[in-house]
Amino acid sequence: MRAIRPRLASRFAALLGLAPALAILVVVYVGCTAWTIWISMTSSRMLPSSNFVGLRQYEALFANERWQVSVGNLAVFGVLFMLVSIALGFLLAVAIDQRVRGENLLRSIFLYPFSMSFIVTGLVWQWLLNPTFGIEKMGRDLGFAAFRFDWIVRQDMVIYTLVFAAVWHAAGLVMAIMLAGLRGIDEDIWKAARIDGLPPWRVYLSVVIPMLGASFATASVLLATSVVRLYDLSVAMTNGGPGVASEVPAKFVMDHLFERGNLGLATAAATSMLITVAAVVGPWLYWQSRRTGRAHA
């Protein structure tokens, strides 16, 4: 008996150690999600009500013009932001990997924006793109009287300015991930490729990029989550404007929760976001777990 008692005690202690995580998981992650989904199926407005209306809020949501704009914006932003960030980040990583001088300095320069908040990023770019005093004025002062760069106040172009700022913020992150991937490639592979007489671009295309699959996946998933979470940047840079031209779903939820007092619609929007994330992340997590499972086997 005496041999068993400390084991039982330890087992209990282990459960005690996991208690905070378990509580958070059950109360916050599961409980709150369920609550939100439940509200999204009621006719709640300012105050929660328990009047079940099925998917009526979702119908209203997808008929809502502002939501449509938000979703469209998110799609445009998401695709462009991810493509440009990954392309630029990869190119930067490859360039830095050519044994250039000042590697540490360059790396710091490309990554520092990532350490700052989206609020700071948004405000800086708001200032740079300000048509009255910013880049447009600079162009005109240089003698190009017809120079125009007023995207930030144009409804049809404002979303691209968000892409601009976000790429500046995140390309360094992609670079860091890719650089880690490149440095992880066996040196002998490069030697073998040189003895095979492969030109460098060919090695990157046929050998290296296929080997960096995991890095590309990681970068994509990270960027994709920040796309869905996109909120601060839109608030700071344009506050959704001009008009509703740079609204995004996360902002739609927040505004309807706290300013417009429409809980039903807000939670329906939040639930839609959750479903989108699940559609992106689910397959990736599955793939990851299979990969690590294979690696352990």
């Binding site: 002998d188 030697k191 490729a193 003895i195 095979d196 046929s206 050998v207």
Partner: protein, 358 residues
């Protein structure tokens, strides 16, 4: 597959920053020779191989391959092929893709590529693996593929950079035989880097033992084993290792003797290379299989290690441990006295200060 190039290294020096890695090194490798560069890690052997391949620039000196000065040539223009320790297979290509990719990029007609891949695969018995990916292969199979990728290049010189070090003992022995067979069959020039002295002894036509940026001794396996040029070579080559006893050189009644505390061994019959002053400090080295039982040097058994085919007895000779090979049937008990004889013609004597063979 008929090209066989000779390789000539002339006064090559290499430094990494302030660290000198190779010191003014000369080395000639004949056509169809199997040369092994043997040494502990950090001795510069891999660096030398990389320099021959053109993967590392030399700071001074020249590299000639097949009668051509290739010092400034790209690796692909040096008529070489190379096999790496980590296999360095392209992970996302099939075995066939790995073997043919270099040729394809070089613009060789695909019929010729097919032919070469098939021939190399047959030679290495990997034909049924051609459509698999490296991740699906065992270590031994991967290294066969890597060797295959080198073979299809039909090069004048084949370079091996510790190709078997990542494999377990049994596979290592198996592939060692395979490589030796390959060399017989192709009669190609091969330069092979390893830190494993058994590999060196079994494979090489000639071995270059390296340490501290220079070649310590260059010779056939037999020469290296029997007449090591210095104490380092003697201790590095051979397993179980040579035993060493420090002592001094004495002359008694006109005959040379080795003398240490509690030990006196006659040296008449030893092929001295130098003239020694009596009393000179020297070190005696003897291999376990050369220690003979039943002489007039007294020693005692301390411990016996059965090794299957034979036994290794650890003796105490004066103050120093000496190992001795015994047949598996011999009866040896720890603590028993064991008089021995040290045959002078099989001994090795080294200068105590410089370690040079005397």
């Amino acid at each position: 597959m008929t090209k066989r190039c000779d390789v000539s290294i002339r006064g090559v020096e290499i430094s990494f920053g302030a660290v000198r890695v190779l010191e003014k090194l000369d080395l000639e490798v004949a056509q169809s020779e199997f040369l092994v560069l043997l040494g502990p890690s950090g001795c510069g052997k891999s660096t030398l191989l990389n320099a021959i391949a053109g993967l590392i620039d030399v700071q001074a000196g020249k590299v000639w391959i097949g009668g051509r000065n290739v010092t400034w040539e790209e690796p692909k223009d040096r008529d070489i092929a190379m096999v790496f320790q980590s296999y360095a297979l392209y992970p996302r290509m099939t075995v066939r893709g790995n073997m043919s990719f270099g040729l394809k990029v070089a613009g060789m007609p695909s019929a010729e590529i097919e032919k070469r891949v098939a021939a190399a695969a047959a030679m290495l018995k990997i034909t049924e693996l051609l459509d698999r990916r490296p991740a699906e292969l065992s270590g031994g199979q991967r290294q066969r593929v890597a060797i295959g990728r080198a073979l299809v290049r039909d090069a004048g010189v084949y370079l091996f950079d510790e190709p078997l070090s990542n494999l377990d003992a049994q596979l290592r022995a198996e592939l060692r035989v395979e490589i030796k067979r390959l060399h017989h069959r192709l009669a190609a020039t091969m330069i092979y880097v390893t830190h494993d002295q058994i590999e060196a002894l079994t494979l090489a036509d000639r071995i270059a033992v390296m340490k501290d940026r220079v070649i310590q001794q260059l010779g056939t396996p037999n020469e290296i084993y029997r007449t090591p040029a210095n104490r380092f070579v003697a201790s590095f080559v051979g397993s179980p290792a040579m035993s060493f006893v420090p002592g001094s050189y004495e002359v008694r009644e006109g005959l040379p003797w080795f003398h240490a505390e509690g030990v006196a061994a006659p040296l008449q019959g030893y092929g001295f290379a130098d003239r020694l002053q009596p009393g000179a400090p020297i070190e005696l080295g003897v291999r376990p299989e050369h220690v003979e039982a039943g002489g007039d040097i007294s020693a005692a058994i301390e411990m016996v290690e059965p090794m299957g085919s034979d036994q290794l007895a650890w003796l105490r000779l004066g103050k120093h441990p000496v190992s001795m090979r015994l047949s598996a049937e011999a009866v040896a008990a720890p603590g028993a006295p064991m008089p021995i004889r040290l045959p002078p013609d099989k001994l090795n004597l080294f200068d105590a200060a410089s370690g040079r063979r005397l």
